[in-house]
């Protein structure tokens, strides 16, 4: 057996590398202490600070997942202790340095058969309880409420298809202030719902079976709420479904779980579970809002009103990429000073909004209403250093769609 001579050279290098390692550890632990000062708290219905396990269950299915996971952990722990107990015992006892002489073992067939059949039985024991849960998870029949969740780059649209609230449609986008905070590189450590706050949460009643139908308009997204034990891909051109029945009221959070492009980390899911009465009140309120919002595409708007309306459309849809200051970032083109934006021929800009540009890097925005598109165009044409005094009317957008 070869043994290496310890040359002075290698000892020197060892010491140098040890010093470097200690230095790195000290430096890194100093940096590591600073987040200890962070004031972040557990987010009920969302992640815990340094959580070690699944988020607390809010549905029966999620409880089943907890149970299954504990069962598996325990099983793995027992196997781990048995297998590695034997291995480490052997490592300690059967060493040459301890004077142990190698002994070939007999290889009777029953040994190999035994350690094939016993794991097979264990695996069957695991599969049985899992099967029950799979069947329950997949049973989306007899729902009280059916909601379509549409993944879009990068937001979620919710359409209430069946049950109380039928006809309501909302779009749920990450709070733009948080998106700006993320870009700044110094997000405020005290924000408990950082990257999880949306403008319009999905509202559902407690104790009702909610069937979520997922689809997407562009690429695959995934609708996930860990506390419900639900994760379902949202696939363009296809519909899939999942269900949950929330056992308690409160706010529950999730995020998009399938890589969907650059803003993948910025399309959270917020489900607000409310009592039946609160839900009815919310539905009434939404219906009234929808009636008020139903814009007449033939209405002629004043410039100031149009800019005001456009500002909110811009913040919800455009600011994530083009920035609130209209300067863009990196490959994202600036709107401030853009010849396309300030062009007196409105169709130049309208064409980009309706059909997209830059090979899809700028998506098409056909799904916005005529009034919204007109408003956001007017806003861009009259903001920052763009002072064109041009106004785009909804009727012009309607004409441009044809």
């Amino acid at each position: 057996m070869s043994t290496m001579k310890k040359t002075g050279h290698s000892v020197h290098q060892r010491w140098a590398s040890a010093k470097a390692t200690i230095g790195a550890l000290v430096a890194s632990s100093a940096v590591w202490l600073s987040p200890a000062a962070h004031a972040v708290n557990d987010l009920p219905g969302g992640p815990k600070v340094n959580g070690l396990n699944f988020q607390p269950a809010a549905t029966r299915i999620a409880e089943e997942l907890h149970g299954l996971h504990w069962f598996m952990l325990a099983l793995c722990a027992v196997i781990f202790v048995l297998v590695f107990g034997v291995m480490f015992y052997s490592i300690v006892k059967h060493r040459k340095a301890a004077g142990y002489k190698a002994q070939e073992l007999p290889e009777p067939l029953w040994v190999e058969l035994g350690w094939t059949i016993v794991p097979l039985l264990i695996v069957i024991g695991m599969a049985l309880p899992a099967t029950k849960v799979v069947v329950a998870q997949k049973d989306t029949t007899n729902s009280d409420l059916t909601i379509k969740a549409t993944g879009m780059q990068w937001k979620w649209g919710y359409d209430y298809l069946k049950g109380e609230g039928e006809g309501i449609g909302i779009v749920s986008t990450l709070d733009n202030a948080q998106r700006v905070m993320s870009n700044s590189g110094k997000p405020d450590a005290g924000v408990d719902d950082y990257l999880l706050k949306v403008d319009n949460p999905l509202v559902v009643p407690v104790g009702k079976k909610v069937r979520i139908i997922t689809t997407a308009t562009d690429v695959i997204h995934a609708w996930m709420v860990p506390a419900f034990g639900v994760k379902q891909d949202a696939i363009p051109g296809f519909v899939r479904d999942a269900w949950f029945r929330a056992e308690k009221t409160g706010d529950f959070y999730g995020q998009c779980a399938e890589l969907c492009g650059k803003e993948h980390a910025y399309m959270p899911i917020h489900v607000k579970v409310v009592t039946a009465e609160e839900y009815t009140a919310w539905v009434d309120q939404q219906k009234k809002l929808m009636a008020a919002k139903a814009d007449d595409p033939n209405k002629v708007w004043a410039l100031a009103d149009m800019i005001k309306r456009g500002e909110s459309v811009y913040a919800a849809n455009c600011a994530a990429c083009h920035q609130p200051n209209g300067k863009g970032a990196g490959p994202i083109k600036p709107l401030d000073g853009s010849a396309i934006v300030t062009n007196a021929d409105h169709n130049v800009m309208l064409n980009v909004l309706l059909n997209g540009a830059a090979g899809g890097a700028m998506p098409a925005w056909k799904q916005l209403s005529d009034t919204e598109i007109a408003a956001v165009m007017t806003y861009a044409k009259n903001s920052w250093s763009n002072k064109t005094e041009q106004i785009v009317q909804p009727a012009q957008v309607l004409a441009g769609r044809k």
Binding site: M1, S2, M4, S10, R14, T21, A24, W32, H38, V40, V49, N50, G51, I61, A62, L65, H69, F80, M87, S90, I91, H94, R95, K96, A102, Q103, E104, L105, E107, V111, E112, P119, V123, A127, T131, V134, S182, A189, D192, D193, Y194, L195, D218, V219, P226, D233, I235, G237, F238, R240, D241, A257, L259, G261, H264, A265, G330, P331, G360, A361
Partner: protein, 536 residues
């Protein structure tokens, strides 16, 4: 290297080309093996730098270093480069070096094709890497290249598809070479069931490669025509099915991950008996277990797709099939431990890596078992738990075995011993930093942090920071490995290695001098009954 390069065996009258010609026109399996190993290490460092870019960005919440576009490019290219550029070629390098030596063959069966399959990798890697400089940057759709996100990518996506075609052609040629060499060029007396385990695992792996690389080629070609020629295989806008892409990809992808681990099993099966000073326990069952894993790998692919919305029966079938894989894998682990049992063990660096492999890889096996359960996977799919799981199998599995194999065989390649102390430092610190990097990611995944996220909620901050510190430590250790272990070995600095540096090593590679002469076994050797010794 010079110890290998300048060595001229007394009986060696063949005048091999020298200088650059020796490498560009290389037909010698040892030279080509060396080229593969150097290439794969360069790719390991490239992929590692990308990984450190990811970990640096995730060190703290908020975007400090890269924007989300570049972040996605990093994760995608890290995956592609590590799988296709680092781990696969590294095992091909070991196959080139060791298979002819282990079966008593003079060289690989098709020497010129061998040269071609190596040199194809260089343009492929260049084309892949050039993606960073193309309009829109490198591919950013994840290493799985899911449609329809791939349809939104810039020209680098086409470059990556082209590069993967070339890499695939290279792999297929390499596999044909390995299969023909093993089946036709074994020395008389080296029956299949006397073959070293490393050859067995590679034989099975080569068949897997030939079976699934064309499937990948089909999937990415359909992506290409969807992008440019108006087809709609996967493009939903034209009636295509994005989920079909996933089925085809994972029909390749799941055997692929076993392609990355089976040769690692082979290396470990060589090292453990050597340092336990015993025969490999249950040789026959090891062969059958390897073949079973390979066959099962074809019927489990959709466990990567539990959240696409499969019917109940599909979900259950793939769950049961996946759990079954635990059985042959368990057999392998039990056999290794039985080999160690009542051995006379010593713990030189190769043995440390092999034992480390069993210990840490098995943890990856446990998390695999947990992920195989479709209901639990509903919460864990596409979270950091999955990231932790596959790094436990591919870093602590494949890479650890590769390191073990290097320390085990480098004396044969170079004729010098590596520095044992530095080797142990490399092992222990790599093991510690590896766990520091990836263990906390289990918690992140359980708590719900999705993967491929450039920024994350505050609650995940501390574990991400720990993970990043571990990653930089792990990266540093691999630079240390290159500078203080690989470079001295290549330069021939170190104690001279005897023909058989390991007391109980068995096999034909230890029947030739160290360093192995440029040409070995030019005439088929006569073997003893166990086919481990040359008797004339």
């Amino acid at each position: 290297m010079s110890a290998v390069l300048d060595h001229h065996d007394a009986h060696d009258h063949h005048h091999a080309p020298t200088g650059w010609r020796r490498w560009v026109f290389a037909t010698n399996h040892k030279d080509i093996g060396t080229l593969y190993l150097l290439f794969s290490f360069a790719m390991l460092i490239f992929g590692g730098v990308l990984a450190l870019g990811i970990r640096a960005e995730l060190f703290q919440p908020g975007l400090q270093l890269v924007n989300p576009e570049l972040f996605n490019q990093f994760t995608t290219m890290h995956g592609l480069i590590m799988v296709f550029g680092a781990i696969m070629p590294a095992f091909v390098g070991y196959a080139n070096w060791m298979i002819p030596l282990q079966i008593g063959a003079s060289d690989m069966a098709f020497a010129r094709m061998n040269n071609f399959s190596f040199w194809l990798m260089i343009p492929a890697a260049v084309i892949l890497a050039l993606g960073f400089f193309m309009p829109g940057g490198a591919p950013a759709a994840g290493w799985t290249l899911y449609a329809p996100l791939t349809l939104q990518m810039g020209p680098s996506m086409d470059a990556a598809i082209f590069a993967m075609h070339i890499l695939g052609a290279s792999s297929i040629m390499g596999s044909i070479n390995i299969i023909v060499t093993i089946l036709n060029m074994r020395a008389p007396g080296m029956t299949l069931m006397k073959m070293p385990m490393f050859c067995w695992t590679w034989l099975i792996t080569a068949y897997l490669l030939i079976a699934v690389i064309p499937v990948l080629a089909g999937a990415i070609t359909m992506t290409l025509t969807d992008r440019h020629f108006g087809t709609s295989f996967f493009n939903p806008a034209g009636g295509g099915d994005p989920v079909m892409y996933q089925h085809i990809f994972w029909f390749f992808g799941h055997p692929e991950v076993y392609i990355l681990i089976l040769p690692a099993f082979g290396i470990v099966s060589q090292i453990i008996p050597t340092f336990a000073r015993k025969k490999l326990f249950g040789y026959t069952s090891m062969v059958y277990a390897t073949a079973s894993i390979a066959i099962l790998s074809f019927i489990v692919w959709a466990h990567h797709m539990y959240t696409t919305g499969m019917p109940v029966t599909g979900q259950l079938f793939f769950m049961y099939a996946t759990m079954l894989i635990a059985v042959p894998t368990g057999v392998k682990v039990f056999n290794w431990i039985a080999t160690m049992w009542k051995g006379s063990m010593t713990f030189e660096t190769p043995m440390l890596w092999a034992v480390g492999f069993i210990f840490v890889f098995t943890m990856g096996g446990f998390t695999g078992l947990i992920l195989s359960m479709a209901p639990i996977d509903q919460n864990l799919h596409d979270t950091y738990y999955v990231v932790a799981h596959f790094h436990y199998t591919m870093v602590a599995g494949s890479l650890f075995a590769l390191f073990g194999g290097f320390y085990f065989w480098a004396p044969k390649w170079s004729g010098v011993m590596y520095n044992e102390t530095l080797g142990k430092v490399h092992f222990w610190l790599s093991l510690i930093f590896f766990n520091l990097t990836f263990f906390p990611q289990h918690f992140l995944g359980l708590a719900g942090m999705p993967r491929r996220y450039a920024d994350y909620p505050m609650q995940f901050a501390d574990f991400n920071m720990l993970s990043s510190i571990g990653a930089f430590g792990f990266g540093t250790m691999q630079v240390f490995f290159f500078l203080f272990i690989v470079v001295p070995v290549m330069r021939g600095r170190g104690e001279k290695a005897p023909q058989k540096p390991w007391e109980a090593a068995e096999g034909l590679e230890w029947e030739v001098p160290s360093p192995a002469p440029h040409h070995t076994f030019e005439n088929p050797p006569k073997l003893d009954a166990t086919a481990t010794k040359v008797i004339g």
